[in-house]
């Protein structure tokens, strides 16, 4: 275990688990911090504030309203909408009533919703607005178990007169009246909650087959909240910006941890105003997907392109200094005394103002997850002084790893979390012979709702099979490779992760596309590279390398050297047999017009392997060059044949 984990680890100081459900934590929070702010939501141009007492009252009123409408323990409440206080209240309320909460993505179609609503046996539907209500009305006959649909934004709902529908505030009024009839009912209902009760059903995306409803118990939510809390030093009353849909389990962990730290939940005005809102509130905790971080980074870069020459010079100099420090922090390359001396100046002149401009001035905890984030994006934020961290886990078993401490390895997804001993044996992991990650410990896997067979399939000898292929580095950092089912095998039977290698290669600014070759009939991994004409061209110009056309540029020995370095960088993260052994720079660009790529630039593998069959054969025969003729389609529709000359480079 390295320095960082030890100092934040569980051995030193174990937090006390005070309650076993979120509603109980809510109650504790209300008693402790009653008049302090709990939630903020920008509405009508103003950040409206809700204190703990107010939030508690809202949730109590809504819970009692649902109970008055007939919600019983063990039933299900479905909810969908943008992240707004009402969405969170609805979730806490259904848990307080002893019901299961199901969150849906706001952009789901009515048909997608139908399956989940039916499968989860939802009895109530809570939707944001007309858009969501229209969907439920469309499929109403097919989800007969739903007894009421509730909405919180009345806009556009003025002429809906259907006893099936009810406004959020009406339900709360019902609840307040019910409180007078049955004082203390809410508190009794909260007290009845148990750690092993189902709190949330989280549906997996279902890219293969139908979505599966993962059971998240109260224990699971509290356990995961404490994994986060024990690994990080969250400051009480930090400004947290809630943006990711709670339909994704990662947000559920923050919904839970937020009650314990506690954080101030901030909800943006609209999804489109998020960037302005971050800046206004000075977010301290941020969790985004890779795409949002990328768009933030490209926004800065685009703005700087438009800036005047002096500003651009300052920006480049400042970021240059920041980058040296970022490389030191993430790759362990010592920056040296000179850069260390310059850093405060760069920070004062450029990096600080830049963070301020983006609204990240106060951000001390920034995470990304869900998909690989390009190292460039990581470095960009690290150079700016924002320690962007990766988090990794699965809905079934919760959080596994995150980048911890101050220095970390951006190729990896970080180090292992510790789970609190109150929730069971410590988190343990190992990899099997296929490189699949197996996990056990913590609050464990609650199973898939109504599918015991599918649940049982995930468990092997007491270990949960994640289906993820990973590599564990010497420094105990975990590297996520691929889904196991996406792995391919070499003739030796050795599995390797083609998509992982391709993605990592594409992260290089010089590589536009990469086609990994290798299967049961091949003895090693090789790759076809489509260089990025623009960046490689600029690089060549800078070094004074003369070239004429794309085929010429791609076959320059200097360019081969450049690409080889990029491949070696990726090879470092791979274990022996998975490493790329030979590569070719394609002398023509892959082109959707020639059906080599789909319109969204996904590789059409079968077609490529057929078209470049001769070349691929030459690569595996160990030849050094290959000559062929390739049919091409010109812009005006004419077809022709281009003579192709390709070098084949071997990597030692």
């Amino acid at each position: 275990m390295n320095e960082a984990t030890r100092e934040t680890g569980a051995q030193l100081q174990l937090p006390v688990i005070e309650a076993d459900t979120l509603p109980k934590y809510l109650q504790l929070g209300m008693q402790r911090w009653g008049d302090r702010v709990c939630m903020r939501h920008k509405n009508l141009g103003i950040w409206q504030r809700y204190t703990w007492k107010e939030v508690y009252e809202h949730i109590r009123a809504f819970t009692l309203g649902l109970m008055k409408l007939g919600l019983r323990r063990g039933e299900t409440v479905a909810m969908v909408g943008d992240n707004e206080p009402e969405l969170f209240w609805a979730e806490y309320a259904s848990q307080a009533a002893g019901a299961k909460a199901v969150c849906l993505y706001p952009d789901m179609t009515a048909q997608e919703m139908q399956y989940i609503l039916g499968h989860s046996d939802a009895a109530f539907f809570v939707g944001e607005d007309q858009e969501q209500i229209d969907k439920i009305l469309e499929i109403r006959d097919r989800v007969p178990k739903i007894r009421k649909a509730i909405y919180w934004d009345p806009r556009g709902m003025w002429h809906y007169q259907d006893p099936f529908l009810m406004q959020f505030t009406e339900v709360q009024q019902l609840g307040r009246a019910y409180e007078k009839e049955e004082p203390g009912l809410f508190e009794r209902s909260v007290a009845e909650g148990k750690g092993r009760d189902i709190a949330v059903l989280s549906y997996t995306s279902g890219t293969t087959g139908l979505p599966k409803g993962v059971i998240l118990t109260n224990d699971y939510l509290v356990d995961n909240a404490f994994r986060l809390i024990m690994a990080n030093r969250f400051r009480p009353f930090s400004m947290y910006l809630s943006y990711t849909s709670p339909a994704w389990a990662a947000e559920q962990f923050f919904i839970a941890a937020g009650l314990m730290v506690p954080v101030i939940f901030n909800f943006p005005e609209e999804p489109e105003t998020i960037l302005a809102n971050i800046r206004e509130l000075g977010a301290e905790l941020l969790g985004f997907g890779p795409r949002q971080w990328e768009s933030l980074a490209s926004r800065v870069q685009a703005r700087m392109l438009d800036a005047g020459p002096i500003r651009r010079l300052l920006y480049n100099a400042g970021m240059g200094v920041g980058m040296k420090m970022a490389v030191e922090r993430t790759k362990g390359v010592q920056a040296g005394f000179f850069w260390r001396l310059l850093y405060p100046l760069a920070d004062w002149l450029v990096l600080g103002p830049l963070r301020d401009n983006l609204g990240l001035k106060k951000t001390y905890h920034a995470t990304t997850g869900g998909a690989p984030t390009a190292p460039d994006v990581f470095l960009f934020f690290h150079a700016m002084g924002i320690k962007l961290r990766n988090g990794y886990g699965s809905t079934e078993m919760g959080m596994y790893t995150q980048h911890m401490g101050d220095t970390f390895d951006i190729e990896s997804v970080g180090q292992w979390y510790q789970s609190h001993p109150d929730f069971g044996p410590p988190l343990e992991y190992r990899t099997d012979e296929n490189g699949e990650l197996l996990v056990r410990g913590g609050s464990g896997f609650g199973g898939y709702y109504k599918s015991p067979e599918a649940s049982a399939e995930m468990i092997r000898d007491g270990w949960f099979c994640t289906g993820d292929a990973v590599a564990i580095k010497e420094n105990k950092n975990l590297v996520f490779l691929d889904r196991v089912k996406d792995l391919r095998r070499l003739s030796s039977g050795h599995p390797f992760p083609p998509q992982f290698i391709e993605t990592r290669l594409r992260f290089s600014p010089f590589i536009k596309d990469a086609v990994i070759l290798g299967d049961e009939k091949k003895e090693c991994v090789t790759v076809l590279i489509n260089i990025d004409a623009e960046t490689v061209g600029r690089w060549a110009e800078k070094l004074g390398i003369a070239y004429t056309t794309f085929p010429d540029l791609s076959q320059r020995p200097e360019v081969y050297g450049l690409i080889q370095k990029e491949i070696e960088r990726v090879n470092k993260v791979l274990e022996g047999p998975s490493r790329v052994k030979r590569f070719v720079n394609l002398p023509k660009e892959l082109d959707p017009d020639e059906a080599e790529l789909t319109r969204t630039r996904k590789l059409r593998r079968d077609f490529l392997e057929q078209r470049y069959g001769g070349l691929i054969q030459a690569i595996y025969e160990g030849k050094e060059a290959f000559e062929t003729e390739v049919p091409v389609k010109y812009r005006d529709g004419r077809t022709g044949v281009v003579k192709m000359n390709a070098h084949i480079n071997a990597i030692a």
Binding site: L44, E270, E272
Partner: protein, 259 residues
Amino acid sequence: MTDQMLNSLLKAENVNLSFAKVKALDNVSLELRPGEILSVIGPNGAGKTSLLNCINGFYRPQQGKIYFEGNDISRMSSHKRARMGIGRTFQGIQLFLGMTTLHNIMAGRHIHMKTNFLQGFIYWPWVAREAVEHREVAEEIIDFLEMEAIRDSLVGELGYGLRKRVDLGRALALDPKVLIMDEPMAGMNMEEKEDMARFILDIQEYRKTPIVLVEHDMEVVMDISNRVVVLDWGRVIAEGTPQEVRENPRVINAYLGEE
């Protein structure tokens, strides 16, 4: 004045308008009933915009009268008509390009402000209170027209479709009793048109403001109007529900030409 006057919020009676020898409006009458969307359609040069200009007081018709809530407003200046509750959006957008969306909408509130320039200069407490009140109205309009993301953007930097929306927002800031819209969808793409149509229907449904709409997009007009008036060469050639107008042979002739 009669009951009928009260029944129609806005009424034009035998309006005649000519520019030199050109007769722009020839004995045009129309009335707007509470809560309805009344569309005025017609080929180019039929006199649609001229009619709107007569209603809100940019043009003075040589003959005929305009009544608003039963009062004859034919002689009244356009800013007085605005104060009475006639709001309008324009074909070519007339906004303050160097100001933000919010400030453009706030500008629309000025007829409701009681404090004057000098008081504003010192920012007395009552001035501050008034500013807050008007800001609230402006924010409700921003929420209503879903303009949160462009609240602080300069209007000059916005695209055409969004500018049209800001223009509508400013007209709504007057709290108009009647809203006059001159080609709100011209130059918009399909999605922007759909948005605008929805906003118009929301205005009718939620704010209950009756609307006079001049629009070229027939599909939209037929979809959202309660009644349609057809002008051709300055004359009313048909009037009725969208269905009636669609089937009227004179309308078909005016649009497709004589056979």
